[in-house]
């Protein structure tokens, strides 16, 4: 028995030693970054670690709503999160964000004024823009024999079993609202229910509800059409040249994702150092080159390769932008309705 105890004890010691050994190489603490999947050039994380000696614990989420749940259920501690506009205003409203000390983020000057003081954070105390983009439709030109111009292609019965759909309530219900001619931000219960009815009508045609799984499915020709974010569409097209991307004529969603610090973050200064690092023009450019999303900084845009800089998908024409609508945060009763209706769709 003694031997067992000794063995256990030495094992514990050994393990705690290795744990310390891992930690001691980075003396400046750590920063817990929580980001969308496929949404950063991971080499930049190492670069940041080398530059500052701060260890990055990097984890990902698939959509704003699950990020919110994880924050809310208190199971995790993060220092930097990168939600979208409407989610940021929800987090501000619920007092879930720290104000950022902009003295620690001098690189904020590199962000264009167009992306400062936006509606979701009017006084710009809580957020630093990360990337922006517009939602559109990715389709496989060998499988869809016309050029889709409308969200209706997602309801095309000829494509039954080949259609992918967003696996998060805001984007999916939003598309149905838009194709019915309503606003993304409607608070009218009847309109939202009508939209979900339309999604239930679509369900038999849908192959799968996806988030980042769409990359594999579209690239491999597993599905013909699906809505996704513009930057990711460029990634998919670069992997499979048969793919194409359009902005539907009904209008679409224009989003800004920004870096924020959740309330009570344990490493607030490290978080600010990280945010500052991500705002260096070279870093922003390298990041944009990797994930193809649109950068909110002209200084960074100048550093991009011409092909990306001139891309109509990453930097859409003015008429697309005119028709694009930003999500705003919805009142709690509507959010509850969204949750209920979303489950009604998934359970249908």
């Amino acid at each position: 028995m003694k031997k067992v105890f000794l063995f256990a004890l030495s094992l514990t010691l050994l393990l705690s030693l290795t744990a310390c050994g891992g930690g001691s190489s980075t003396t400046n603490g750590e920063v817990n970054v929580y980001n969308w999947g496929e949404y950063i050039d991971e080499d930049l994380l190492e670069e940041f670690e080398e530059e500052t000696g701060i260890k990055v614990n990097y984890t990902t989420y698939s959509d704003n709503e699950s990020m919110y749940s994880t924050l809310k259920n208190g199971s995790a501690e993060y220092d930097v999160i990168i939600p979208s506009d409407y989610m940021i205003s929800r987090l501000i409203e619920e007092d879930m964000l720290e104000t950022i000390d902009f003295d620690n983020v001098p690189n904020f000057a590199n962000i264009d004024d167009d992306y400062k003081n936006l509606d979701y954070d009017p006084t710009n105390e809580y957020s630093v823009p990360y990337m922006w983009g517009v939602v559109g439709i990715v389709y496989n030109t060998t499988m869809v024999d016309y050029t889709p111009t409308s969200w209706d292609v997602l309801w095309d019965e000829d494509l039954s079993g080949q259609i992918l759909m967003f696996d998060n309530s805001r984007d999916a219900i939003g598309i149905a609202l838009k194709s019915l001619g309503y606003s993304y931000n409607t608070t009218d219960e009847a309109e939202i229910i009508e939209a979900v009815d339309k999604l239930i009508e679509q369900k038999p045609l849908v192959q799968a509800y996806v988030m980042d799984q769409i990359f594999d499915k579209m690239e491999a020709g597993e599905a013909a059409v699906g809505p996704y974010y513009a930057g990711d569409a460029i990634t998919m097209i670069s992997e499979n040249p048969d793919l194409a991307f359009v902005f539907p004529e009904e209008g679409s969603n224009y989003y800004v994702d920004a870096m924020c610090i959740p309330k009570g973050a344990a490493n607030k200064e490290n978080a600010e150092a990280f945010i500052n690092f991500m705002c260096e023009p070279e870093v922003m450019a390298a990041n944009a080159e990797e994930i193809y999303y649109s950068t909110p900084s002209s200084a960074a845009k100048e550093l991009l390769e011409d092909e990306l800089k001139d891309s109509d998908i990453a930097y859409p024409a003015q008429e697309v932008m005119d028709k694009a609508e930003v999500y705003v945060n919805l009142p709690q009763t509507v959010l509850d309705l969204y949750d209920e209706e979303w489950i009604r769709l998934k359970a249908a």
């Binding site: 028995m1 256990a8 199971s75 491999a220």
Partner: protein
């Protein structure tokens, strides 16, 4: 012993194909030279190279081994103690204890996971808003909560494999040892422990396996900065899939295969040796 007919053999073979076809596919495509999981484009070891370059997977592997070994040690000690305690209880309290002990095993994993998460979040919240504020310590979900959860679901398996061995023990032997002047501790070490040792060992192995294999309970109790291999695999399947997963599966399969082979060859040998010894003894008699 009557032998199986043609259909029975065929059924067995088909079942084996069903069980192994997916694994064969995984292994074959771990050597594919392109990212495709369905089209063979040539032999390459690049996914293995990338796997060993992937610091996230490696650290998840380390976490998995650490938590499994620690949970195994703690649950084996606690579980063996508890089994001895239960064995010496009167019938009624023992029935109650065994019923509670069975809960984590019969309950769905997701319920164990969710309930433990509620407990941890509740306790941590209570601590952080009172004692934590006084002392400046903030707790969070992480390795410690993961370990507590693993010990909790491991112990019942240890108890279940130790108890039957205790039931087989002859209580008179221990009494004899005590009568002959052994201290209770000596009697335990020299008499009881060797008797129940196979059960303890079996329980330890089971606890370790359960810990390595667990996904659901870890998913709910590990928090943000700790990730086990199973959690890492899950998050990988939710993103763009890299054949690194195939490489990982292949390696795990090979490790398990060799472990099982070693264990079985050893036990087969021991059985043979035991049979030979028995034959000799009988010869003597």
């Amino acid at each position: 012993m009557r032998k199986n007919g043609f259909f029975a053999r065929l059924g067995l073979i088909l079942t084996m194909i069903f069980l192994y076809a997916p694994i064969v596919v995984l292994i074959v495509f771990s050597f594919n030279s392109s990212k495709s999981r369905t089209v063979w484009t040539g032999f390459s070891l690049q996914w293995y190279v990338e796997l060993f370059d992937d610091s996230r997977i490696l650290s998840a592997l380390a976490t998995t081994l650490e938590v499994s070994v620690l949970a195994m040690v703690f649950s084996t000690v606690l579980g063996t103690m508890a089994a001895i305690g239960f064995y010496n209880m009167r019938k009624r309290p023992r029935t109650v204890c065994m019923a509670i002990n069975n809960i984590p095993m019969t309950n769905a994993d997701i319920i164990t996971g969710v309930s433990l998460m509620l407990l941890f979040v509740f306790a941590i919240g209570a601590f952080n808003s009172t004692l934590g504020q006084l002392t400046g310590v903030t707790l969070k979900l992480g390795f410690a909560t993961l370990l507590l959860a693993h010990i909790t679901f491991d112990i019942p398996y240890v108890i279940l494999s130790v108890l039957p061995k205790l039931n087989q023990c002859d209580p008179n032997i221990e009494e004899a040892a005590l009568d002959l002047g052994a201290t209770p501790w000596q009697a335990f070490l020299k008499v009881v422990l060797p008797e129940i040792q196979p059960g303890v060992l079996n329980g330890a192995i089971m606890a370790f396996t359960m810990s390595v294999d667990d996904f659901v309970i870890s998913y709910f109790t590990a928090g943000s900065s700790t990730s086990t291999l199973a959690m890492e695999v899950y998050s990988m399947t939710r993103k763009r899939i890299s054949p690194e997963i195939n490489a990982l599966s292949t390696l795990m399969f090979v490790v398990v295969l060799s472990l099982l082979a070693i264990v079985n060859i050893r036990s087969a040998r021991q059985e043979k040796a035991a049979a030979a010894r028995a034959a000799k003894l009988q010869g003597k008699g």
